[in-house]
């Protein structure tokens, strides 16, 4: 099959996908009391999708992706705290800051592989967390950013405790970013990323300059992570150090492996499962939560390394598969 036709077939919306996005509207009707949780899930799913772009498609194993999330969150939060609470521009500001830092750090990150890459992303994460901690006068340090007040969306919809605006806002952002990501991965650029993931040295030989492509996708992923962070700051009206922390980076990696890497929906499914489980087990002692997450992680890696979606994909008969 000709590559362009194959790509075109990938981009067709399947019934399951349309069903999924329509189902995302259900919480408004069926679970109106859970809308704040739903918006949190949407934000986390967005973050997971951004990590999938670099981890699942480009093969950059990053344990420090939360840096961009945190930068987006702090930027939007600081903007709102110091008088400009307009949500959409705040979102763009957060995304811009994260994009810039993503580009600058990406210059370093894309040039290393394996252990050095792991260590550099980990190191960048800790550097950012330490920096945010020391700049306590600006960031609020360990207490977090307080006094954020976000204006009404479009001047009409208020961010209140009921969560209607929060969920609609987050879901819209998630859908938009998802559309962009989908377009990105089902394109020759996206294919070249997968090529780079499989064999980085060979790609330049067939015309795809590895470092430049990786830098592009890394910057884009940082932008999306920044959007997720800004959303968090605006919907919860608080920002803390843990938005930058290792915990957040590790959690999102867990969600991705749970749902399945390299399939955009994997991050979303993983986020849904993880957040719902955490909400249900919230009253559990934190030690036990980490025990079970650890066991789950080990079990998934041993028995279901392609994640939930990978496992489900194996159940679909060969002739119906598109990938």
């Amino acid at each position: 099959m000709d590559p362009h036709a194959w790509l075109a077939r990938q981009t067709r919306w399947s019934g399951a996908e349309i069903g999924f996005w329509l189902a995302a509207l259900l919480p408004f009707l069926l679970f109106p009391t859970y809308l704040t949780l739903a918006s949190q899930i949407a934000i986390t799913a967005l973050f997971a999708v951004s990590l999938d772009l670099i981890l699942g498609y480009a093969g950059i194993i990053s344990l420090g992706h939360a840096v961009y999330f945190g930068i987006g969150a702090y930027t939007a939060g600081l903007l709102a705290k110091h008088g400009w609470g307009e949500p959409l521009t705040g979102l763009l500001a957060g995304a811009a800051a994260a994009t810039l830092i993503g580009f600058l750090t990406g210059l370093i990150v894309v040039r290393v592989r394996q252990l050095a890459l792991l260590m550099i992303t980990l190191g960048l994460g800790f550097l950012a967390a330490e920096a945010a901690n020391s700049m306590g006068r600006i960031t609020g340090g360990a207490d977090g950013l307080q006094g954020i007040s976000v204006w009404k969306l479009f001047g009409v919809f208020e961010f209140d405790l009921y969560g209607y605006t929060s969920y609609a806002y987050s879901l819209a952002a998630l859908f938009l970013v998802f559309l962009l990501s989908r377009r990105l991965v089902h394109s020759p650029f996206g294919l070249s990323l997968r090529g780079i993931r499989e064999n980085q040295r060979r790609m330049p030989a067939i015309g795809a300059p590895s470092h430049r492509r990786l830098l592009k996708v890394y910057t884009i992923a940082a932008c999306f992570a920044g959007i997720a962070g800004a959303l968090l700051a605006q919907t919860t009206q608080t920002v803390s150090l843990e938005t930058l922390g290792f915990q957040r980076s590790a959690d999102v990696a867990v969600m991705l492996i749970l749902g399945g890497t390299g399939r955009l929906y994997g991050g979303i499914i993983g986020a849904i499962i993880f957040m719902l489980a955490r909400d249900q087990l919230a009253d559990m002692n934190p030690q036990y939560w980490y025990f079970w997450i650890g066991m789950l992680l080990m079990a998934v890696v041993l028995f279901l390394p392609t994640g939930v979606l990978g496992g489900l994909a194996r159940l679909v008969p060969q002739r119906w598969r598109t990938a």
Partner: protein, 287 residues
């Protein structure tokens, strides 16, 4: 002034020696099998808890608990290696990382469940407390003890690596695993023994660390980060590299926290990122 610098260097050296004990095992096994074992710090934690339990529960003297900590960590690591880790040798690095992180979570939670989240109190024997005064500077006895043990172990390790047949097999397998297998070296057994030794050393390091940095369930993760920095900076598979990197890190950390406390922890991460960018294989690494 001089005494201050010497004091800081001494403390940094002691801390570096501790980091070396904790890291050397990971460096060699990573270089040998390319298996990213992030649970290495948790074996150190295991050694620490074994020592605490024996001392408090059974009243054992401190020095006697050290070999037990070594053996316990070695045995535990072999158990994990035979049952779980060997299935992941061919897995992607991400899977190895996530699996071993899961193990870290589980072991930390288990430690918290059994021992609670408090820092474990421990009292070293009297002959290891206090300090000696040389040229007008105070040197803590425990730190001298630590440096002494670490140097003895380093000599033993280097001797074993350079002068025994087993050491030659390890070096061969690190350099080129396939060729080594082709020459008839049983790489699996070599790896299992090296893994056990490395984890045992980590356990020993964990036991020795209690007096210096304290022991609680987060030890496994906290020191994992430092260990990874030492391994990455020193280069995989290199004992000399780990030694140099551990000293560098120990002295930088102590000096940084002493002279520029606001920048403290920042410094090590910045050094690491910078170093790795220019030399991704580490100071002494081969790849």
């Amino acid at each position: 002034m001089i005494s201050q610098i010497v004091g800081v260097l001494f403390d940094g050296l002691a801390y570096g020696m501790l980091l070396f004990l904790l890291s050397v095992g990971l460096s060699v096994t990573l270089g040998l099998m390319n298996f990213t074992n992030l649970a290495h710090g948790s074996f150190a934690m295991l050694g620490g808890y074994v020592t605490v339990t024996l001392m408090r529960g059974a009243g054992w003297p401190f020095l006697l608990t050290l070999p037990v900590a070594f053996v316990a960590a070695a045995v535990a690591s072999v158990a994990f290696e035979r049952t779980l880790f060997r299935r992941l040798y061919r897995a992607t690095e991400l899977n190895q990382v996530l699996f071993t992180i899961g193990l870290v979570f589980v072991m930390a939670a288990a430690a918290a469940y059994v021992f609670g989240t408090v820092t474990q109190p421990m009292k070293v024997p009297d002959y290891l407390q206090g300090s000696v005064r040389v040229w007008g500077i105070n040197f803590a006895v425990y730190r001298l003890f630590l440096i002494g043990i670490a140097l003895v172990i380093t000599v033993l390790l280097v001797g074993a690596l350079e002068m025994t047949r087993f050491g030659a097999q390890v070096r061969a397998a690190v350099d080129n695993q396939r060729m080594a297998k082709g020459l008839g070296i049983d790489v699996d057994t070599v790896f299992a023994i090296t893994f056990a030794l490395g984890s045992g050393l980590a356990g020993l390091g964990g036991a020795l660390a209690i007096e210096i940095v304290g022991l609680d369930p987060s030890f496994g993760f906290q020191y994992l980060v430092y260990v990874l920095i030492v391994v990455a900076v020193g280069g995989l598979g290199s004992i000399g590299g780990s030694f140099a990197a551990a000293i560098l890190l120990g002295v930088s950390d102590v000096a940084g926290k002493y002279y520029v406390p606001q920048v403290g922890a920042f410094l090590i991460y910045a050094i690491m990122v910078g170093l790795l960018f220019f030399r991704p294989a580490g100071l002494f690494g081969k790849r």
